[in-house]
Amino acid sequence: MTETHDSPAEQQTVLRIDDLGVSFSTDAGAVRAVDGVSLSVRRGEVLAIVGESGSGKTVTAKTILGLLPETAMAQGAVILSSRDGQSSNNVIALSKQRLRQVRGTDVSMVFQEPGTALNPVYTVGWQIMEGIRAHGTVNRADARAKAIEILGRVGIPDPEVRINYYPHQFSGGQKQRVVIAMALVLEPGLIVADEPTTALDVTVQAEILDLLRRCRDEFGTAIVLITHNMGVVADLADRVAVMYQGKVVEEADASTLFNSPQNPYTQRLLAAVPYVGQGVVRAAARAEARTPEWSAQAPVVVADKLRIQYPGRLGRPGFIAVDGVSFSIRPGEVLGLVGESGSGKTTIGRAIAGLTRVTDGSLRVLGHEMNGFRERKFKHLRSDIGFVFQDPASSFNPLLTIADCVAEPLIVHGRASSPRAARARVDELLEAVQLPRAFGDRFPHELSGGQRQRASLARALALEPKLLIADEPTSALDVSVQARVLELFADLQRELGFAALFISHDLAVVDILADRIAVLYHGSLVEEGTGAQVLGAPQDPYTQRLLASLPVPDPAAQALRREDLAKLRAAG
């Protein structure tokens, strides 16, 4: 997969990786994470390295800065040129001292979690100035002036004041701006951005992507963009390398890759990416199939001016998570609840399951009023409610087998006397979620994330509930796994006909499954309607912005959307 360069391009190369191999030692013995990777990045170019978890993309990124842990061992060459092209170094072979000099001046890094990439006990100014002063003798005043300048340039308002702020005084998006400022301050030729927007909300993501684009265009900085998000790739990348199980399986410029992917894995990966507009036909077909009596049925869930406030401490006012939200879910209907972090979407799901108390208003679940909740009176209804949690890692008791966990609802509600007695039904359920029967004897940690979410679905559906609440069930999964779980969910919903509240931050995911979509913003419901209404012709400015911020996996279309978003912002 090695590219051959003609000599002018060779001069312009900032980074060349030749036959890189990285191994880690683990409890289970040596494991090879990166295998024979060769890549190159030219000046002012954005190279995206795309892959799912375990593909070795992050390891590759860390190798470029020599940040691998001591348990790792790298082979091959990572040739890094300085910005002026005067010197080049093989990072793998550098001494500690030289490596330190290269970091920050020739190459720098932007991290995934801006919240953890900043030291909480020092001001951002101190941290930026430290980076400046680590490379040459600069006096305090000059370093400070430089830090203020760079903060201003990455779009931090009032940099003269905010330079003295501690990280926790910034919002998530601003923290990422600060992290980018730190990476830019010594004007390195290359920035390695490791999932720079994954921890951010989609509207903030669009801003950070804009900023990274300006880094390239205005600073002439090359960027190695590590991401799993095809939309982000389409938005920013000039060239794309697809990694799978430690190897680069395909490398091409962005438009070629998206338009005519060659490698089967790339094709599968692109096909799995959800996009807005997928669900319209399906939802219409479902609506078509419904009988006229359907709309006369009593809804499964009715929320009326629902308000949920978390108790504050010691007389302090609590946080209002949900503020005057009204909606309903009819039998057999899937309501998609969309919102960014802090919108209150999870709180609503928990309130329906009786895990969070209702403060004010009314919430009727299966005819039972949840305001003034009493566990004893609600208990008999619990067999009609299923819940799928977000985190596949913690949704099963690590000490019980999958069969024991799936059997639990059957035992609790007296349908079976023991896990053994429930086994036949458990096997049936596992097959329904397309897991082999034998998986029942495994422990949760022996299953992958996607398999665990399937088992979680099996447990939630064990009692054939009338209502299923799914709280971001796929957000921790890889794209290809997510696609399969979503498909399974849709199949099961069609077969069993349960009503569902599907909570997600991703409009495209919700679109695939939902009959109707409700959009939450800071605890209030800003828009509700069918997928065609909400996503086709959004009325609320927030929905419009949310939709426009969602990057699509197509570079040409994404360029157009970017313009739309810019217009929206200018208008808003």
Binding site: R153, H168, D210, E218, G572
Partner: protein, 363 residues
């Protein structure tokens, strides 16, 4: 390169600082709550000590039972009010504590608060020197161990730390005495000062009880050397115990923070490894370290009782063991209650320091 990256920011982006976890005035409230918490702590400990000690019977029988006839005993008990309902005694006792009255010793017939004034300085002095040893030895070595993690210096230091806190202070004290005082004869065996020095300090007009300060006041360098040489072994015995705990604590916490993203981020900016440990890992680690150090005050006080007994260092701990031998439980109860107050207060101070160091609490 003068172009400004002008990024259009949505209204939400700038105002997003609004949801600070602890709003303005958070620290004032925190400190107030923390301060108020001192009182239930003292109340619980004092009550516990009272009820525990009094379930065994009255202190007079415990101290003098067998030595006095039953009639005399009853008379003494009545005079001291120990035959009244225990609840009344309890309320009275709480009231006394509140006014700073910790009772009167049976064996020496002195107010416990006076015992404190006389001997408290000695314990404070010992605690000060021990903490000094602990800080000087424990904290830098902890950082060294974290820096050389899993290498031979780390191995050596970890064994050293375990040895420090696996050795009972009194045994360490005995060994030190044996080696430095008896065999090498370079340091005094026991006590806080030699008789000559004590006499010189005795006549000072405003003596503090802190021998180091008093020795300075005499202006006689021989007295100062004498006082300091007496302090070396007890401070080492008690200080090394605490140093071992500190070493382990600093090592664990610094290793923890060394694995964080922000250390990696600083490394990616070219910050040196030494500076990573010294600045980036140590400062954030300091907050949990200080909190746990607060809990070590208890260890230090418990250790002080043993150290003072070993070295006949006439402080509160030494007196406590004397009163125990004399079975003077009024005095024991008083001293223990007093130590409870000290522990509660010092934990409060430590928490305040930890809060002040943490910018997340401060702003």
């Amino acid at each position: 390169m003068t172009t400004v990256i002008s990024t259009p920011t949505t209204p939400g982006a700038i105002s997003a600082t609004k949801k600070k976890p602890s709003g303005g005035g958070g620290i004032g409230r925190y400190l107030l709550v923390r301060f108020l918490l001192i009182f239930p702590t003292i109340f619980i400990l004092v009550s516990m000590v009272f009820w525990l000690m009094r379930t065994t019977g009255d202190p007079i029988t415990a101290a003098l039972g067998g030595r006095l006839g039953p009639d005399q005993l009853a008379e003494r008990i009545h005079a001291a009010g120990y035959d009244r309902p225990i609840l009344i005694q309890y309320v009275e006792y709480l009231g006394q504590i509140f006014t700073g009255n910790f009772g009167t010793t049976l064996s020496t017939n002195r107010p416990v608060s006076e015992v404190l004034l006389t001997y408290g300085a000695a314990t404070a002095e010992l605690a000060f020197y021990s903490l000094l040893v602990a800080f000087i030895v424990g904290i830098p070595l902890g950082m060294v161990a974290a820096y050389w993690r899993d290498k031979s210096p780390d191995a050596f230091l970890r064994i050293f730390a375990i040895l420090c806190y696996a050795t009972p202070v009194f045994f360490a004290g005995l060994l030190f005495k044996l080696v430095f005082a008896v065999w090498l004869k370079v340091l005094p065996v026991a006590g806080r000062a030699s008789t000559g020095s004590e006499l010189q300090m005795q006549v000072l007009p405003n003596k503090t009880g802190f021998y180091t300060i008093d020795a300075l006041q005499t202006g006689n360098s021989a007295v100062l050397v004498d006082v300091l040489s007496h302090a070396v072994l007890p401070a080492l015995a008690l200080g090394l115990l605490t140093a071992g705990v500190f070493l382990r604590l600093v090592r664990t916490n610094v290793i923890g923070t060394l694995g964080t993203d922000y250390v990696d981020a600083a490394r990616s900016r070219g910050v040196s490894e030494f500076r990573l440990v010294r600045k980036h890992a140590y400062r954030p680690a300091l907050i949990p370290i200080i909190t746990v150090i607060g809990l070590q005050i208890a260890l230090l006080l418990g250790g002080a009782v043993l150290t003072e007994t070993t070295f006949e260092w006439k402080g509160l701990g030494f007196m406590l063991s004397e009163f125990l031998k004399a079975r003077d439980f009024v005095a024991v109860q008083g001293i223990v209650a007093l130590l409870a107050v000290i522990v509660a207060l010092s934990n409060f101070i430590v928490d305040v320091i930890a809060a002040l160091i943490d910018p997340r609490v401060r702003y």
